[in-house]
């Protein structure tokens, strides 16, 4: 079975209705099915790092750190990639509140210490591939259900004009 087929099966088993996709509704669904809250935190990332996922060892919470300096469309993609790890039930670093607090305090001065967290996680290339393929499959579903605007596409490239078109009942 190829990675893509396995990921497709996992996504199908999730049972999410992509015709109603919004990032919030999708994350709510994952939280419900996995029984853990997902918290997104914009963060200064070191070079080469896009997002970091850490599990809370004390509470049922997944902490997803997203590079705050990338554009919003890219952030949505990074969120989906990290959520894909959660969907695939990949292993990750499990940190207690104290450990995480200490790490983040250090990361404020030197973002590269976040690498320490990753070094504690089994970051295999295969897991990254799975997450990226899963994110791509989710994006495929979103676009197939004409919800591309949820990933950053609109009726006009001018936001004010969209408002006018909407108020005229043309969109």
């Amino acid at each position: 079975m190829t990675i893509e087929t396995r990921m497709k099966n996992i996504l199908d088993d999730l049972g999410f209705d992509f015709s109603q996709f919004t990032m919030n509704s999708f994350v709510d669904w994952i939280e419900k099915t996995r029984g853990r809250k997902i918290s997104f935190i914009p963060w200064e990332m070191p070079p080469g790092m896009f997002g970091v996922w850490m599990s809370d060892a004390d509470e049922p919470v997944e902490h997803v750190f997203i590079d705050k300096n990338v554009p919003s469309m890219h952030q949505v993609h990074i969120q989906l990639h990290e959520v894909s790890h959660i969907i695939c039930e990949h292993p990750t670093a499990r940190l207690s509140k104290d450990e995480m607090g200490g790490l983040l305090l250090k990361a404020l001065d030197d973002p590269s210490v976040l690498n320490e967290a990753l070094l504690r996680a089994p970051a295999k290339k295969e897991l990254e591939e799975e997450a990226e393929i899963m994110a791509a499959l989710i994006q495929h579903q979103v676009i197939e259900h004409q919800r591309l605007q949820q990933l950053g596409v609109a009726a006009s490239s001018n936001e004010n004009v969209i408002d006018h078109l909407q108020s005229l009942g043309l969109v």
Binding site: P47, H77, E128, I143, L148, S167, L168
Partner: protein, 387 residues
């Protein structure tokens, strides 16, 4: 008469159809775009209705003033073009010049005075194309000149919208709007000429050219005006062939850029999709290739920070989870610097369509520069085709 009746019915249809949308707009009482565009269609419908000869006669009888329908028609058109121009200023996010209101008042006042002095006493006639007396010339030219000047505002608004628009369906609508305003301007321009020419010599052969021109322009205004108010879904359908070709070109250009970036910043997932799959999922593939470019841009930017703007290789290899480590020789370092600077010209906080356009531009620039002058040791090089 029937052509005028059909256009008037179309105008009333738009006015009634858009009434609900206008009332739903919370801002309409304070003068929103919705309100001004709806008021434009209302005044146009009133003016066009009074141009139908039996309606015109009945209206004059009811009011008890000869040719009063003529004055109301022109006043309605003056208000219509004023509303359209006022709406355009909101779209352009510019304050409305005070001169616009004053010129409307001046036009209405001039027409009213000329009506009292010279029009009310004239016999009623079905065709107002050719003036018989000087008062009619002044009456007609006043409204034509006023409307011609104001119709330039929507024309320039639509040019600007077309220029900045990235989404094909919206661009089509702005094109239609531009043609509607252009033909409105053409109608008025021909009217200005025709009125003077016909007054000087009602039998001049020039009328044989001007009259059909006028009819064609009026029909064009009716058609384009109706098209401009069609729902977005119809524009999306009409835009499909253009969008398909545009997306195909965009995908080709973005993939060309991605192929140049891949050897420098290896992606997590590699692989090619078949032609059928690509053509059937253009939006998806465009989205993915754009994300891949943003990934590479972020990687290059990160490297630029620790390598003095990519002027040297990093001392310690940068760890990037799930990606092959970056192993750059001098050749790749130079290519990385070149692409990094090209990518930095794009502001990424734009809409998806604008981002696609921007990176298409980068891809073209990179290709041109490489084809033109970028070489090492006399040999032109192109990382895109290395693997």
């Amino acid at each position: 008469m029937w052509d005028k009746a059909v256009i008037a019915i179309l105008a009333w249809f738009i006015t009634i159809y858009k009434y609900g949308a206008m009332r739903r707009d919370a801002q309409w009482r304070t003068g929103s775009v919705t309100f001004y565009f709806w008021a434009f269609s209302l005044f146009t419908a009133i003016g066009l209705t009074l141009m139908i000869w039996p309606v015109y006669l009945v209206f004059n009888r009811l009011v008890g003033l000869p040719n009063f329908g003529w004055l109301v028609t022109y006043a309605a058109f003056a208000l219509a073009i004023y509303c359209m121009a006022a709406g355009c200023y909101i779209v352009l996010e510019q304050p409305r010049p005070r001169l616009m209101s004053w010129s409307l008042l001046l036009t209405l006042a001039t027409m009213f005075v000329v009506y009292i002095v010279g029009i009310v006493t004239l016999p009623e006639k079905a065709d107002h194309t050719v003036p018989d007396v000087l008062a009619e010339v002044v009456f007609m030219e006043t409204i034509y000149i006023y409307m011609a000047i104001l119709s330039a505002i929507p024309m320039f608004t639509f040019i600007r919208l077309v220029w900045y628009e990235q989404i094909v369906s919206a661009r089509l609508r702005w094109f239609v709007g531009f043609f509607a305003s252009f033909f409105s301007f053409a109608v008025l321009f021909v009217k200005i000429l025709l009125t003077i020419v016909a007054f000087k010599d009602p039998l001049t052969p020039a009328l044989n050219i001007l009259n059909p021109l006028l009819t064609m322009a009026i029909i064009a205004v009716g058609v384009f005006m109706t098209l401009a108010f069609l729902p977005n879904k119809l524009y999306q359908v009409a835009a499909l062939p253009f969008e398909f070709l545009g997306k195909l070109l965009a995908l080709y250009e973005l993939r060309s850029l991605k192929n140049r970036l891949d050897p420098l910043c290896p992606p997590v997932v590699t692989g090619r999709s078949g032609l059928k799959n690509t053509l059937g999922n253009l939006d998806y593939h465009l989205y993915r290739v754009l994300i891949a470019i943003l990934d590479a841009k972020k990687t290059l930017t990160g490297h630029a920070v620790i390598t003095n703007d990519l002027t040297m290789k990093p001392e310690i290899p940068v760890r990037s989870v799930g990606r092959a480590p970056l192993e750059w020789d001098d050749w790749k370092l130079q290519q990385a610097r070149f692409l990094h600077h090209a990518l930095q010209t794009v502001n990424d906080e734009q809409s998806f369509a604008a981002l696609v356009k921007s990176y298409q531009r980068v891809s073209r620039t990179v290709r041109w520069k490489e084809a033109g002058s970028f070489s090492i040791g006399g040999k032109a090089f192109d990382v895109a085709y290395q693997n």
